[in-house]
């Protein structure tokens, strides 16, 4: 049994120590990255049980193929890349991404030719950040494709750079912009619909 809870930072992680599966290195890696990976797996839409399984498999796959990690991305981003692909395979319904549409087409439906609102945003003037709003936003997020959820998680929660996100998801910067754009618009429209139904 290895004692966990040791506060060792990633910067002290040595690939040699990980290769040798030294307890201190394994503990540091798991302590540093497991919570984020678990949050990411849940954000993509996995159940808690599936999320835990995928996180474990991610660490196993990383250690098995340790030599493939060249350090060009951060360890966290690299691990998230493994996790994302495993999660997508598990869900087996990695819904096809509509990344080829351009942003103009995504936004366009609500504006007239002069660029003014033809369908103005509805909903409360000041949307409270209460438990109900959070619940609805989370519920609406379930309707997003896996890749959009992953992109949104990496961008908004983890604050990753567009370059890192593109590497993880295997998309180009234009696709990423469209994905994020779509995700935000879909979430807002879903909330608007919910607000209309419940007012």
């Amino acid at each position: 049994m290895i004692e966990s809870g040791m506060a060792i930072t990633t910067t002290r992680l040595s690939m040699e120590d990980l290769r040798a599966r030294k307890p201190e290195a394994l503990t540091a890696m798991v302590n540093d990255h497991l919570p984020t990976l678990l949050a990411g797996a849940l954000a993509i839409g996995l159940s808690r049980a599936d999320a835990e399984e995928v996180v474990q498999e991610t660490f196993v796959a990383f250690l098995t193929g340790l030599d493939r990690f060249e350090g060009r991305s951060s360890l966290r981003t690299y691990l998230f890349g493994i996790l994302y692909h495993k999660a997508s395979n598990l869900r087996a319904k990695a819904r096809r991404e509509e990344g080829s549409d351009d942003i103009e087409a995504v936004v366009g439906a609500r504006f007239n030719e002069d660029g003014m609102w033809s369908r103005p945003p509805r909903g409360p003037e000041a949307m409270a950040l209460d438990a109900e709003t959070r619940r609805w936003v989370e519920k609406c997020s379930e309707g997003l494709p896996d890749a959009q959820r992953a992109a949104f998680f990496l961008k908004e929660v983890e604050g990753e750079t567009p370059e890192a996100i593109c590497n993880v998801l295997g998309v180009n910067p234009t696709n990423l912009r469209v994905m994020l754009h779509r995700a935000r618009l879909k979430l807002r429209e879903c909330l608007e619909l919910n607000w209309e139904r419940n007012r």
Partner: protein
């Protein structure tokens, strides 16, 4: 003022920025014009507030889980990864 209005972004352009890379990614003069637009346009300012709230709500919903069950899960993973 007339010149500034000529360069004022449309609602569509403002919404596109808010849903895209955000104000921070815009050059300063563009940020200024978008802020000015937001101060004058109720629809766009409502849209902006709602987008902010959605991001905040998802950040809260998707934050890293904590607690005893996560610590127990960490221990299980470390045990599994360790030398057999």
């Amino acid at each position: 003022m007339k010149l500034m209005m000529a360069f004022m972004p449309t609602c569509r352009e403002v919404a596109k920025t808010l849903c895209g890379d955000g104000l921070a990614a815009e050059p300063w003069h563009r940020r200024l014009l978008i802020r000015l637009h937001l101060s004058q346009c109720d629809f766009c300012s409502r849209f902006a507030r709602q987008m902010d709230r959605i991001c905040e709500a998802l950040k809260a919903a998707w934050s890293a889980p904590q607690g005893d069950d996560v610590e127990a899960f960490k221990r299980r993973v470390i045990d599994r990864l360790g030398p057999s």
